[in-house]
Amino acid sequence: MKIIVCIKQVPDTNEVKLDPVTGTLIREGVPSIMNPDDKAGLEAALRIKDQTGAEVTVISMGPPQADAVLREGLAMGADKAILLTDRAFGGADTWATSSTLAAAIRNVEYDLIFTGRQAIDGDTAQVGPQIAEHLGIPNVSYAEEVKMEGTAVIVKRQFEDRYHVIKVQTPCLITALSELNNPRYMTPGGIFDAYREKEITVWGLSDITIDMGDIGLKGSPTRVAKSFPKSLKPSGTKVKLDPEESAQYIVDKLKEKFVF
């Protein structure tokens, strides 16, 4: 059995700080991490590997520095790693990203693909289902439990108020929630091997078969018109009202926060 796990290197948004004066994002010094949902997908794949001896390949599309996140995947226990990197892939939205990844995946044998549900820098949750669509295979999103049953996968799929237990035949794609598991740590020896013993396959545009209109900025139907900082929150306001008015005041503030 062969499993592919798509992983993305993302800035740790917990560490992202806003410039208090300009309100813009301070990107310097923000550590890069493996996207948490993707890591859960990798862990799910590694658990299947532990049980069945499946071969796990991690694949990432990004700049050359994304090498680090693939080494991390190898250090956790993945067998192979592929880095998809080319200037031509730059500026891609989810459509172009998914078509590029799907093109690369067509070069590889697979039974099962894991992606994270969404990446913490974009939060779109689109790339997984879109890859499945490009490949013409079924997908199950929001997986909270995964187990193999012969050639099928049994997935506990999360909804707001319920779960569906879904049986899906391989080949298929599953998007993992970080609740799926607690990803294992790397081991020190695994890290040394990842850098000193293992190789990362690097693919550029010439290594995959794809129409130029389906990649990068050109292959992206959406355009970012502008981006701007979220308005900074004022704090230290206090009011003295009677209980009824106080309660209403809080309700109004909660409404602004879309709690209802």
Binding site: P11, T13, N14, T94, W95, I120, D121, G122, D123, T124, A125, Q126, V127, P129, E133, G136, I137, P138, N139, S141, K156, F159, E160, D161, R162, Y163, H164, V165, I166, K167, V168, P221, T222, R223, V224, A225, K226, S227, F228, P229, K230, K233, S235, G236, T237, K238, V239, K240, L241, P243, A247, Y249, I250, V251, K253, L254, K255, K257, F258, V259
Partner: protein, 327 residues
């Protein structure tokens, strides 16, 4: 727009989409079509009309009884092929966020996720879709100039629904693209309804936290009521734990847990530096304290000087009313 129904009940965000759709349609001199998928759900059409749908495209088929990705994608794709809408909206729910990307890939168009603002550009008449990114740190406005429909998922709770129009009727267009089993179909083996159980305060989206000012273990009931009404959890300061009113596992602060919920109610918490260290990253901090000079007010977004024992019961009732109104 895609109308989400589960067990023949329309999900709240669908009405919000209709409300927003009305506004957008007026700007474009167009109309609002609700796309309703399911099995034996035709009875919902009038309700959709009352919330602003001019027309309902109804795809009613046994294959759509329970949500699964492929038949829903096929249905929405077929509807788009047939009706060629300018704009297609989904709720950013666990269904919408699975279905919309799959549809966008099949149709070959752009999709903007989790929008909090939608407006029509006066000049180009394009849909301006604004969404948070980078963990909510920045906002981005996205356009989809060259592909149709312009697709977006919309965060629940953001858009306003209209006041229902009594007796409104929509034109109902029944449409069935036909459903044939293929490799992309999956089998739903079991449906498990969630029973809410205790959530770790570190995972809770809303926390109602109490300190020494709560006054007694009995008064924590008021906090619990509020938490239940708003779908949150009760947390506590060290003072309450030390007093034996609350358990250590819900303690926030230096010696307790560090939390970062969307909303943090600090009730009768003075705001010692040890406590602030554990919660000041919360998105919205609402402090209620009798003591005007309590340091908690320095970090609060909403500061109420007053008696929590009087305010909380009223607040709980108001919140229940709000939720009921949204059902």
């Amino acid at each position: 727009m895609f109308i989400q129904q589960i067990d023949a009940k329309v999900t709240g965000v669908s009405y919000e989409l209709l409300g927003k759709g009305r506004e957008l349609a007026e700007k474009l001199n167009s109309d609002v079509t609700a796309v309703l998928l399911g099995h034996n759900v035709g009875g919902l059409c009038d309700k959709l009309a009352s919330f602003g749908a001019d027309k309902v495209v109804l795809v009613d088929d046994a294959a759509l009884e329970t949500y699964t990705t492929e038949p829903y994608t096929h249905a929405v794709h077929s509807v788009i092929e047939k009706y060629k809408p300018e704009i297609f909206l989904f709720g950013a729910t666990a269904i919408g966020r699975d279905l919309a990307p799959r549809v966008s890939a099949r149709v070959h168009t752009g999709l903007t996720a989790d929008c909090t603002k939608l407006e029509i550009d006066e000049e180009s008449k394009l849909l301006r879709m604004t969404r948070p990114a980078f963990g909510g740190n920045i906002m981005a406005t996205i356009l989809c100039p060259d592909f149709r429909p312009q697709m977006a998922t919309v965060r629940p709770g953001v858009m306003k629904k209209i006041l229902p129009i009594e007796g409104a009727k929509a034109v109902v267009d029944e449409f069935n693209p036909g459903f044939e089993l293929n490799n992309k179909y999956v089998e739903v083996v079991e449906i498990i309804k969630k029973v809410s159980n205790k959530v770790d305060i570190m995972d809770a989206k809303i926390l109602v936290s109490g300190g020494r000012g709560v006054g007694s273990p009995e008064n924590f009931k008021l906090l619990k009521d509020l938490a239940d009404a708003i779908g949150g959890e009760v947390a506590s300061s060290r003072a309450s734990v030390d007093a034996g009113w609350t358990e250590k596992d819900i303690q926030v602060g230096q010696t307790g847990k560090t939390v970062r919920p969307s909303v943090y109610f600090a009730c009768g918490i003075s705001g010692a530096i040890q406590h602030l260290a554990g919660m000041e990253e919360s998105d919205l901090i609402i402090a209620i304290n009798k003591d005007e000079s309590a340091p908690i007010f320095d970090v609060a977004d909403v500061g109420i000087v007053g008696d929590l024992n009087k305010i909380l019961p009223i607040l709980t009732e108001k919140i229940k009313t709000e939720f009921a109104a949204n059902k």
